[in-house]
């Protein structure tokens, strides 16, 4: 299981390598259930690295950081590797980035952390309140154990605290890694797309009413896009003014167009890490939309992104016998 000593040793070794720029991992956040992504450059800093059910951040999003600040004259660009700590879903994001040449395989050193599921902070905060003091957590015998401030320890069943997509997760172990920190975990999740099917069964009017209600709250903060490991276009088509695909006004028609465009661009690419829904400040159920297209791609074309770095990207391929039952 989770071996923090091993984690820190490996991290120290990695950061000390000549060909590694920095290591990205998780460390304790400043308050409550928060965990912070940590860019470690010096070997001394590795002691603050951790891995626990609170580590929801998908660090793969930092791989495609637009670090393209102009290189000062006389200097060379720093092309050393980035070491990255990944859970199962994070590793799939890395694989998809490899497929799309967003990052080269030799540009990243992948440190795999098999994961038993991370918490949904909103669920946990509902249970314990928004605490100010930092909280520790760990996986114990199929439950999640919280060391609350004041010494109290509470153990809760995973169904009550884990994020929804962790409960249906079929890929808890990193699918690609240069080193695996501990043993692989058992696959506990199974996905029937119940949430998607429930919405599919409603009438057109009900569906429209449901989504219009959600999209009205969108404030176009673009947090979902910023946190997504697969949204890394330097100049997003939905920001552009020439041509203008969507206006920047936050009325519901533009918001709907924005969300649909983002969902469509993620079809066959989204690896269901759930970060978008986590960071949305107005609680739009973004996973419901992304999972709908995930389901369609999986069922109609038998394809799941982020598993095979050698595969052709979904939206750049076809089969002559693809289904076409709706076509006149």
């Amino acid at each position: 299981m989770v071996d923090l000593d091993k984690l820190r040793t490996v991290a120290k070794e990695t950061v000390s390598r000549d060909d590694v720029k920095y290591l990205i991992g998780w460390s304790q956040g400043t308050f409550g259930f928060r965990v912070s992504p940590h860019f470690v450059k010096e070997p001394e800093e590795v002691d603050s690295l951790t891995f626990s059910p609170l580590c929801c951040n998908n660090l793969a999003t930092y791989l495609t950081l637009t670090e393209k600040n102009p290189v000062p004259r006389g200097e060379e660009a720093d092309t050393r590797k980035v070491a990255l700590m990944v859970k199962g879903c994070d590793s799939r994001a890395v694989v998809q980035q490899l497929v799309e040449h967003g990052v080269g395989r030799d540009q990243v050193y992948i440190i795999g952390c098999p994961c038993e599921g991370v918490v949904d902070v909103k669920k946990v905060e509902k249970k314990f309140g928004e605490l100010l003091e930092p909280v520790q957590a760990s996986w114990e015998n199929g439950k999640v154990s919280f060391q609350l401030p004041g010494g109290q320890v509470e153990s809760l069943p995973r169904e009550e605290v884990l994020a929804q997509n962790c409960l249906t997760c079929r890929y808890p172990n990193p699918v690609v890694s240069d080193i695996l920190l501990w043993d692989e975990v058992e696959v506990k999740g199974n996905d029937d797309y119940e949430d998607v099917k429930e919405l599919e069964s409603k009438s057109s009017q009900d569906k429209w009413a449901y989504w219009q209600d959600k999209f009205t709250s969108c404030i176009r903060c673009y947090s979902c896009r910023n946190v997504c490991p697969l949204c890394y276009c330097e100049d997003c088509i939905l920001d552009r003014l020439n041509p203008t695909w969507v206006f920047r006004s936050t009325n519901v028609a533009e918001n709907t167009a924005f969300q649909m465009a983002r969902a469509f661009h993620l079809a066959g690419r989204c690896i269901e890490c759930g970060e978008c829904e986590r960071v949305c400040p107005v609680d739009i159920p973004l996973m419901k939309i992304n999972r709908k297209l995930y389901k369609e791609v999986h069922e109609k074309y038998e394809f799941e992104p982020g598993l095979d770095p050698e595969t052709k990207p979904f939206q750049a391929s076809y089969r002559p016998d693809d289904k076409e039952d709706f076509i006149l």
Binding site: N69, G102, A316
Partner: protein
Amino acid sequence: MNNKPKIGVYVCHCGINIAKTVGVDSVTEYAAQLPNVKVARNYSYMCSDPGQLLVKEDIKNEGLNRIVVSACSPRMHEATFRKTLVEAGLNPYYLEMANIREQCSWVHEDENEATEKAKKLVASAVVKARLLEPLEEKEVEVEPATLVIGGGIAGIQAALDIADAGFQVYMVEKTPSVGGTMARLDKTFPTLDCSACILTPKMVDVASHPNIELMTYSQVEEITGYVGNFDVKVRKKARYVDVDKCTGCGICAEECRLKNRVPSEFEEGMGKRSAIYMPFPQAVPAKFTVDPERCIYLTRGKCGESPKCVDACPSQAVDFEQEDEFVDVRVGAVIVATGFDVFDASRKPEYGYQDYDNVLTALEMERLVSASGPTGGKIVLGEGDDAYTPKEIAFIKCVGSRDESVGNEYCSRVCCMYTAKLAHLVHEKIPDANVRIYYMDVRAFGKGFEEFYDRVRREGIRYIRGNPSEIFKRGDKLVIKAEDTLKAMPLEDEVDMVVLAVGLEPRRDSREIIDLLRLSQSGDRFYMEAHPKLAPVDTATDGVYLAGCAQGPKDIPDTVAQAKGAASSALILLSSGRVKVQAQVSVVNEETCRGCTYCVEICPYGAIEMVEVNQMGHQVSVARVNEVLCKGCGACVAGCFSGSIQQKSFKDGQILPQLAVLGVM
């Protein structure tokens, strides 16, 4: 010149084709008040000289820099008006057309609805015109060679014309000899020329012409590239005979264990050949071929002690070790002259073709009357002691043509005349024969055709108007059940022989050529020409031409004329040596491209590649389009998430405003 768009809108009446339904004045008025429109006119025929002059004068006097022509389909006259712009000194890609004829005035009856729709289409064209950019067509060199697929009369004629003009031709024929269907005919209508006599000299020319490389018993495996630069891979199938040693003496066929046992394709099954064979005595090249599906050695692994052909051949030309050979050639143009198949008469079971030996197709009859055929030109049925000369002979026309029930609604064009010809030949060979022809119509449209038809009737051959419903046997005779519709009388006609005038159909393997060259099919499944009236030999693919029955049923004079037309079109390419490739290519904005390679994967032509560029000190990989290979489909554009690759003249920024205009109102 000021870069601000100054648009001229021209609304064509097209006589009354548009003006009858669309209010051209009201559309012109509407166009005049659209943003950036400086001039708006309407005129009766925009494509005519005075019409084009209007445009040119306005460009000169009013300083117009964008032109919108609302008229027929751009597929009709876009090229015409592009030329007009060039003549007026404007880049030809500053033109946009609104289709208010084929897609408006001709299909909507209500004048109000048609006019409102025309206004919207004009507004859409104007908004796009505002955003057009000047484009240059790149020029590429043309390889001075042509590929002719098919060695029938169409392919032969086209090849000879091109070769005589001084250019290299590669001719690929599937069967072991050139000649096609014409080599299997006896006499040709209406002149009664001996088919082989007029064809064989041309066959010999094609084989001996210094500019023609003839590859028989060969197939085209793959064609890649684009106009002026096609890369062709040809498979030369193994004959199992060394053509350099083979003298065509025929001893191998005499000795073959399967002598007279294999139905001959050339004789339409009416005669037999050996497993090692020459299709017909005048075959070009005059070499033998082993049939890999019938030869005992090839199918079972051994033929007696040793194959008789190997032993008998005085030049030791038989070589069972031979393998298929692959040849790569580069050509500038391709001519498809693959011919036709006849209708399979067993698909009309009511005519008893499968049941009775004395029901024949016209092609089988053709072999029977041929002097070089299986019966030496005698019309004889049965074999040995049972052989007899039929006296009561009937022809049935329109078998498999003009018939929706078998999926061939079209007329096969040649059957009326070849039936008259065959009927005449019967009369000549069997003077006391009683010949009748069952018909729906008689189509004798060509030069000398009506005269021939008259002659045939004067010889006593009866034409009965009525389509027989069935043929059955009664004793020794066949009975044709029909209605004589001119007399309004049903009849049962007892005959000795029935000849079915089967129609022409597209080749059963036509799909292979379609896949090779992206050809389209017309509704009748023959290959589709670019325009039925004005471009009958071109196809939608530049540099690929059609000749002969591959494009539709036709007789020999029309085939030869079309072959000459295809040759001429190919020669235009070859003799100018250069060709312009289309300008509406895709281009990458390397600043925003994030190197995901989706466009590279998507492009069907491999026209996009990744290149390393230096952006502010970093080495990044971005996409770049090869403008000569790009065909302008735009599949890459729709697949690019960042919108970095755009197709000139069809950019997102040019299409989105059209959607805005079409939505409003």
